[in-house]
Every structure is written in C-alpha cells, then in structure tokens.
Amino acid sequence: MSGWRIVGRWLVRALPPEDRCWGEALLRELDELPRRQRPVWALALLRLNAARMPSARVGLWLGALVGLLVVAELAYSNLGPGSAHPSSDQAAPVLAAYALLGLLFVATGFVQRARGETLADCARTTAIMAAVIIILAFGSSLVIDNVWLHTVARQPDKIDGFAHSPVFQTMRVYLIWTNVLGLLIATPVGAIGAAALGALGARARG
C-alpha cells in the first residue's frame, strides 16, 4: 500500500462515522485518476476533514501556530546568542512555558465547549494540538541537531547526556536517538495529558 493511501485511509478514519462515505468516495475517485492529478485530490481529503470535523481543524491550526512559536524558540535557544549555555529543562522560564501551555489547553477546552462542542470533541481538539506541537518541536530539534551538530554538540547538557550514555558511538547518533525516542514517547503521553486538560476546561464551562 503506497504512502498516500495509508495517509488517506487514516484521514478517512479520522472523519466522524457518518461522514466516512465522503472520504471513501474521494479515495475511490483518486484510484481512477491519472497520477499527476492525485495530489490535488489528496489535498481535497484534508479539506474534507477540516470542514467536517471542526474540533480537528481547531486543534490542527492552534497546534501549528503554537508549534511554530516553539520551533522559533528552539532555533533561537540552540543557535542564537548564548546557545552554548541554553536553559536547562528544569529552569524557571521553561517550567513557566509548560504551565502556560497547560493553561492554553484548559482555555481551549473551555472555549470549544462554549462553541457547543461535546466534551469528547474538546478533548480531541487539545490532544491534536499537543500532538502537532510535539511533532513540530521534536522534528525541528532533530533537524537542528543534525544540521548544526557542531554548535549543538558544545552545549553542556548534550555533552553530559552523551557522556552518560555509553551505548551510543557518536554524538549524532545519540542526538537522533534521543529525539526519535522523545517523539515516540512524548506524542501519545502529551496528547493524553492535553486531552485531560482540554476536558477539564470543557467541564469547567459546563
């Protein structure tokens, strides 16, 4: 099964059950189309999802917006002035940013509920938001660590982490491994946590 078809099937499944026939219809049309027309119709599946699942759309957009801010901060702290000594993950500004993110999930759940969404949809919105943010953050971290390895490898926390991980032969492998592992663990855990906070906000709205 080709890559776009796997994504397509996933997008169809993401639709509410009563709307999946529309996604299936698009996939069937895609099969009949010449190869060069397929990308446009594959994008149509994304637009169908956005139109038929408001909670997913809100989650995607907000997640992308916040995620880009996180990416910008990551790029600045790793490559900008003072990048040789970036803040530790336990530093007050980093913890404050996590708290702010948590509040944003609660507020999003609250506002979504006020817009008439169900409790489950509110939780889904914040789960998607968190997943998008985490994927963007770890994805950009992976790129930064590999492209600017010589800059990143001078940071004390990376040197320390690498020194205490005898499994890895090189700093590059160590950084790739930590990013990929982080992505695989943080995405589901973050999404579940954000869903709980979104549901909390929605519950507060009543």
């Binding site: 709307d19 529309w22 299936e24 219809a25 069937r28 189309l33 446009v40 119709w41 637009r47 169908l48």
Partner: protein, 87 residues
C-alpha cells in the same frame, strides 16, 4: 449542474471537472447538501473491472431548491441589468 437533470446519477470527478471547482470545495459542499436532505448518494454496483464509486443526484427537495435558486438568479439578473447598463 446537478439540477440540469435531477434524475441522473453523477460521479464526483465529472461534477468537479464540469463545474470547474476543486474536489476540496466540492465534497464538503456535497456533504452539506446531503445533510440538508437536498442530495442523495449511493455506491455504484461493483463492475468486473473496477471498484464501486460514489454517485450523487438531487432529491426532489433538492431539485425544487435548485430550480428556485436558478429562478431567483434570473430575476436578480434582470433586476440588476438596467442599473449596470451605461446610461
């Protein structure tokens, strides 16, 4: 377009090509029409050489709605034409 022959079942690709609108615009619109009871849809019976595709046509209410919209557009066109004409 669907209103031109309400009894005829149409494919999504044909409708998109004929109307000159993207599938991304058309499918959500078709879904909304179906929500409002203006469009009916069904799967084509599978043939030997192909997989079934989704077919669409207007319901009786949809055909009435389309006819009313076309009439309204014509009336509006007649009403605005003199104003748009150079004096």
């Amino acid at each position: 377009m669907l209103g031109a022959d309400p009894s005829r079942w149409r494919y999504g690709y044909d409708l998109s090509a004929e109307a000159g609108i993207s599938a991304g615009t058309m499918y959500p619109a078709l879904a909304r029409l179906a929500d409002d009871g203006l469009l009916e849809h069904r799967w084509e019976l599978p043939s030997e050489n192909g997989r079934p595709r989704h077919l669409y046509r207007l319901t009786a209410a949809g055909a009435d709605f389309a006819a009313a919209r076309v009439t309204a557009a014509r009336v509006l066109g007649r009403a605005t034409k003199p104003r748009l004409a150079p004096s």
